[in-house]
Amino acid sequence: MRALMEREGPASTRRAHREEMVAAHGHRGSRTMGATRRERRVEPRIAASAPALTPARAPRDARDEARLLILDPARGHADGGAAHALARWLRRGDLLVVNDAATLPASLPGRIGDAAVEIRLAEPPRAGRALAVLFGEGDWRTPTEHRPPPPPMGPGAVVRGEGLQAEIEHVSTLSPRLVTLRFRGADGAPLDDDALLAAIYAAGRPIQYAHLEDDLALWSVQTLYAGPPWAVELPSAGRPLSWRAIAGLRRAGVRLATVTHAAGLSATGDPAIDSALPLPERYRIGAATVAAIARTRAEGGRVIAVGTTVVRALEDACEWNGALTAGEGVAHLVIGPAHRLRIVDGLLTGMHAPGESHFRLLEAFAPRAALLAAHAHAARAGYLAHELGDLALIAPEVLADP
């Protein structure tokens, strides 16, 4: 707890630290790969051989009809039926940890001078400030990589939005489009946290991407258990968890716990920013969750993260602190094949393709060959990708021996 809190530090130190980390991640990312979560910029070597997954283009009528692909690292993969029957793949004593962040309408329209711009928040605002990515005119229907940049601007420039304005307080060295904004009311008066949230909800829309058919409603980007408004994009692996699914888990003796993690942007179309994703993201882990994880491990159950954000929060907390403790932190850890998992045993996640940064995270859970085989099967069998798509459960001992 103390280590986590100290890393947060006073506001000024925190901002400086975050900026350093953004820059550092940029370098690290550019050395490894430049993939994004939903707009899959596939590595050329793989693109020739990997079959493509079809994106889900609209919300399903029944969220829990999402399909489930089961992957046991030691035993291979199998079709797992619908997400509402998730319980049949888990056992008494397992613990599912979900990200309970509600999704903000984090796309805000604005103008710089006469030019239309779009602000996409990269994190939830805190004390009137937030990291954000600026786009030129257009909307989600244009793929991000084809969006024009905003007009040139530096610190002190003001983006005028609906019911609020945002002064550019700092421009990242990573990209001139990655900025720290300081928000005020439309009249320039300071806004407290609640007034800023109200203004964001009045003016904003959910962030979405060009693979979708239509505008997303705010109702469509919330999980069933959404709580604090921290996520700028839907923590999507939890979306198919209906009460039917959760009640089934409870009946089967599978417990639930929460973390709150500020799920960030999937893609920006700016290669320098995309190579640095995921950016540092804030999280909060409660004492009840720490206790539930300890109990699960002591009793031989499996800790299953629902979504990569939960993996990142739990593993980051442990990485910095040596052991999992309750508190708030900022996740800097980027998980790949070399990461040794300390807390999480398994993962319920969306369908990710080779070349995505998320696929590299999956390699911490299963050998690359097993993941590639499962991915090829998913593509052939018509599993759907992206935030409204199907799910994969990757966990040890989830399939019986053949």
Partner: protein
Amino acid sequence: MNLTDRVALVTGASRGLGRALAEQLAEAGAKLVLVARDVAPLDDFVASLGGRAIAVAADLGDKEAIHPLVARAEHVGPVEILVNNASALGALPMPALLDTDCEDLERVLAVNLVGPFRLTKAVAGAMAVRGRGLVLNISSDAAVEPYAGWGSYAVSKAALDHLTRIWASELGEAGLRFLAVDPGEMDTRMHADAIPDADRAALADPRDVARAIVAMMRDEAGAPNGARLVAPRWQEVAA
């Protein structure tokens, strides 16, 4: 239930029973999210509570108002108490069913039934995963007595009572409590709108009713989950 520092979301909080409940909950140490279509009457009260209360302007008949409202509430803290108190009488003077416009019935159901359903749906999932929460639906004796002229309002409250029972049957095992509360006849503007010539001396003070309801909230073992309680007599009904 100890109410200290619990976040309570109260709809229809600008006057009448809602305002009285807000005052009683504040006195009990709860943090408040107070919802009304017009929050101007709440300004002084919210300011007097420092950072322990916010006022949110919202029309609960509007589906799109729900998540913005819940997000602001959850920013205050995890919502553990929801009081669905806001309600609409419909057309005034209250018409017989044959004189009730279809749209008027729809509007009353939207505010009194669908609104509480949506708001509960938006907070109860998080409550269920956390394993605790209390939802009070403010009802009326019109839910059980067929008063002529009260058609729209009465059927909305009868349905709300039954919604309370179904929520309880589905989420009780997850640690959530749902109660429907008939506050009895109170000296409020809504009562005056409905029955302009009522004898005010015979009506209860909403502050007394609010005290009884807050006592009911504290008494976790007091009433079966999903029960319909009459506020002035809740202890005997619960027993």
